[in-house]
């Protein structure tokens, strides 16, 4: 029996009030910080999913997104490295489709079933941009989810998958497109969303001898809550009690992560024996049946969707969003942070991406970055590496820099002490100066430091504990 061992999510702290975009709109959408992208959010979700699990046992990572920062560079390896997985694992990016998340889920199930891998982490994240003033801009939200797929101690079984593919220019982006393109709305809804999804669902039911009555709830990841309701009704579900809430008024449509995000929401409410119908759409449709098992209550301390809806910080100023998305032309580029030499970046992957410090095996002192010569006892080459990214800590001191010309000002530089030992100088993300206090509790968050010469420089910053 193959299924979900644990799950996790990451939704940025930030929300944009939709009224900042247009009058008469409702709710908020989640928006990434200026230092976040699909990869950083994916890491956040993966970390949430893997709390208190043994990362050594994960031997596969599938990363699903339509907004990878690179066209030719695996995002899965960055995520796997940041989460400190082994090197000898199966990695792949699933992209170019809004159903990439469920496709990756199916592929993970197949990999585990076939024995190709034992535990596959499926991570989906998206950070799509709609043209300013468009419906897409109103509806799209940023976020990520992660599911660990395996065979023992599962909390929900992935019972059945059925997919259809469909060649149609309904919603797409060409190579250089910044914004989402879509065809005439009724064409897309009727011939795309509804017709193709129904085909997949019907195929699932037929092939696995299931009917609507066998399902507790429909989880429909279509890019429009009204269309979700239409499909649910057409399939025979009661829209009031059997359709998973779309999260539109609080998060928005999170692209390739969307269906999986709604699935996670549903699992957070599910009880044993609930069977969920997951429908996703993107040049075809995936229909998946998931059944909650006895251990469904085991949340493994992950925050999941619930734990990321609050706390939140709402932005009322549209210009902040435009700047974060890089949509405003600028004359004076921000001051460069970090360095982009590939050999140095590669050499320092352990300390920068895996956030490994070193523990001196002679005197026990933890130091970051790892040192050849111990800072305390001066022994040479007796350091064993130790992961610091999952440690909590406290602020030792801080400063707020109003002068350095950076992408978003002011920039907060801090010194943190980790629980269990070790100290690090780093930046603090998502904080405002009035929140800062010596000794305040912090945790680490994977972020983007800078971008130059075609290279994203990733780093770990600290944030206030959520």
């Amino acid at each position: 029996m193959v299924g979900i061992l644990s799950f996790g999510a990451y939704i940025p702290l930030w929300r944009l009030n939709r009224r900042a975009i247009a009058d008469g709109t409702v709710g908020e959408k989640a928006i990434a910080g200026f230092d976040e992208d699909s990869i950083t959010m994916a890491v956040g979700a993966a970390v949430d999913c893997l709390r208190h699990t043994n990362r050594e046992e994960v031997d596969g990572l599938f990363f699903a997104t339509t907004t990878s920062p690179y066209k030719e560079k695996l995002g899965a390896t960055t995520v796997a490295t940041a989460v400190d997985l082994r090197r000898d694992i199966l990695t792949a990016d699933f992209s170019n489709s809004l159903r990439a998340g469920t496709t990756a889920l199916r592929a993970a199930v197949d990999a585990v079933k076939s024995g190709s891998a034992k535990q596959v982490l499926v991570v989906a994240a998206d950070c799509r941009t709609g043209e300013p003033g468009s419906n897409w801009e109103l509806n799209c939200g940023d976020g990520a989810v992660a599911f660990l797929i395996g065979t023992s101690e599962i909390i929900a079984e992935i019972e059945a998958c059925y997919s259809v593919c469909d060649e149609m220019m309904d919603v797409w982006r060409y190579e250089e497109d910044r914004y989402i393109r879509s065809s005439e709305r009724r064409f897309v809804i009727d011939e795309g969303f509804l017709r193709v999804s129904k085909e997949a669902v019907s195929g699932l039911m037929k092939n696995f001898q299931l009917t609507v009555k066998d399902f507790t709830k429909a989880v429909i990841g279509l890019p429009d809550p009204k269309v979700q309701a239409t499909l649910a009704k057409d399939l025979g579900f009661d829209v009031k009690t059997q359709l998973q809430d779309s999260l539109f008024s609080r998060v928005g449509d999170t692209g390739a992560a969307y269906s999986l995000m709604l699935l996670q929401s549903a699992l957070e409410e599910a009880v044993e024996k609930d069977r969920l119908l997951i429908v996703s759409y993107g040049n075809g449709s995936d229909a998946i049946a998931v059944k909650a098992r006895e251990k469904i209550g085991n949340r493994n301390n992950s925050r999941g969707i619930r734990g990321h809806l609050e706390p939140k910080k709402t932005i009322e100023n549209y210009v902040v969003y435009l700047k974060r998305r890089g949509l405003l032309p600028i004359n004076r580029p921000p001051r460069p942070l970090g360095e982009v030499g590939p050999p140095a970046l590669w050499r320092e992957v352990d300390q920068n991406i895996r956030l490994k410090g070193g523990r001196c095996q002679v005197c026990g002192t933890i130091q970051y970055p790892p040192q050849r010569v111990c800072t305390r006892c001066h022994s040479k080459d007796h350091l064993e590496k130790v992961r610091l990214s999952d440690k909590n800590g406290r602020l030792v001191t801080y400063s707020v820099d109003y002068i350095t010309w950076t992408s978003e000002m002011p920039i907060i530089t801090v010194v943190v002490n980790f629980e269990g030992g070790g100290r690090m100088s780093c930046l603090m993300a998502d904080a405002t100066p009035d929140e800062l206090k010596v000794d305040m509790p912090i945790e680490m968050s994977f972020r983007k430091l800078d971008f130059r010469e075609g290279i994203n420089i990733y780093c770990w910053k600290c944030v206030q504990v959520r």
Partner: protein, 394 residues
């Protein structure tokens, strides 16, 4: 078996340019002005120099910058670099050379043309994470802001209270700067102006931060037993203390960032060499590294001028004002001169030199017989601190 440098080297000449935004002066102009003032002061010719040490962060990569400016032909010249303590390191090396006897007369010069590069200089190496490409380099104001936050926290002061203590230091230095024609900034300020000034690196505001300036200074040293040939009122090197931090502040989680250990260690060495046991009494005038007002505040304690953690008490009592018990930064400090990194240490030495010779004019400290210069370059935890103690020949 190490011997103290005390009384083995003498300064026979010094020069210092005006500091400021010197748009119309290039590096050669500043080097020539500072060094020729020193040559004239020592009554020697450039050819008399046997060796030179040249300190600069942005205005010359090799010693040939100095030889080209001064037309010193085929003399040994070494560039030294230690960020803000470069100037004192150049002096220190010159002292060791003449003390060893391999040189008779040595020159040290420090110079920066920071204003050619807009906002000064791109930032420092981030030791101990030096090659780590993801620990951000941001201006030094940030680490001194962190020092202030932690120092205030240590004393239980809220930020407003702490800023008021710092403000008095800046007011004092600005007042002194008014009396120095070579300073960049001539402006009296009030405590209120300091407190209301825009924040640069919270909690430090505009008047807590030294400016960005151009400038150069130079010094000529000889072995002490030769000094009389050049002048009667030569000034003796009493102690040289240098140290480099090994990153302890950033690597050790039990290092309290309310202090800077490198300052303490460098001072300890210098005092030992000079035979000084009670700095508060035995030092009569000092120029210390006031890149940010908080640094001057902690230095009062770290250099042994304020005892028992009572720097605030001394600030409020005016102990370090021009008319106080131990005047500090009598020439206006980095605050009013700005901070052309490698020139600053020698500019400070110039003031102490003039003070000990009784030539400091309206800034003269009565009966100044022993003076101290302090610089610290780099980042906290990996500072290259330098303390130089000078004394009158009697």
């Amino acid at each position: 078996m190490m011997v103290s440098i005390k009384d083995r080297v003498a300064i026979i000449g010094m020069g210092c340019t005006k500091f400021g935004e010197l748009w119309d002066k290039g590096p050669y102009d500043l080097i020539v002005e500072a060094c020729f003032e020193a040559f004239e002061d020592a009554r020697i010719k450039p050819e008399d120099i046997d060796a030179a040490w040249f300190a600069s962060l942005v205005s010359g990569f090799t010693g040939s910058r100095l030889s080209n400016a001064l037309k010193l032909e085929y003399k040994p010249i070494t560039r030294v670099e230690n960020f803000c303590s470069g100037g004192l390191h150049a002096l220190g090396n010159a002292c060791y050379a003449v003390a060893s006897g391999v040189c008779d007369i040595a020159l040290a010069c420090g110079i920066e043309k920071l204003k050619d590069r807009g906002s000064g200089f791109s930032m420092m190496n981030t030791e101990p994470a030096d090659s780590s490409k993801t620990i951000p380099e941001t201006p030094p104001g940030n680490m001194f802001a962190q020092l202030a936050i932690r120092y205030f926290h240590h004393h239980g002061w809220d930020v407003k209270e702490g800023k008021r203590v710092l403000a008095q230091i800046s007011v004092k230095s600005h007042h002194n700067g008014m009396l120095n024609p070579k300073a960049h900034i001539h402006r009296e300020i009030t405590i209120e102006e300091v407190l209301e000034a825009p924040i640069m690196f919270y909690p430090l505001g505009l008047y807590d931060c030294c400016g960005i300036s151009d400038g150069a200074a130079a010094v000529i040293v000889v072995r002490a037993d030769m000094a009389r040939e050049f002048r009667e009122d030569y000034v003796l090197i009493k102690g040289l203390g240098f140290d480099s931090g090994a990153g302890q502040a950033n690597l050790r989680d039990d290092y309290d960032p309310a202090h800077i250990q490198e300052n303490i260690e460098a001072a300890r060495t210098a005092y030992e060499q000079a035979g000084i046991k009670n700095p508060r009494e035995e030092i009569h005038v000092a120029q210390v590294h006031d890149c940010f007002s908080i640094h001057e505040l902690v230095l009062y304690e770290e250099l042994g001028f304020s005892l028992g953690g009572n720097a605030r008490v001394d600030v409020e009592a005016g102990t370090f004002a021009l008319d106080g018990k131990l005047p500090i930064n009598t020439d206006g400090g980095l605050k009013c001169f700005g901070h052309p990194l490698s020139a600053s240490g020698l500019r400070m030495a110039y003031e102490i030199y003039k003070q000990l010779q009784g030539k400091a004019g309206p800034r003269q400290v009565k009966n100044a017989r022993t003076g101290l210069i302090h610089n610290a370059g780099g980042i906290i935890g990996s500072f290259n601190a330098a303390v130089t103690i000078l004394g009158r020949r009697d």
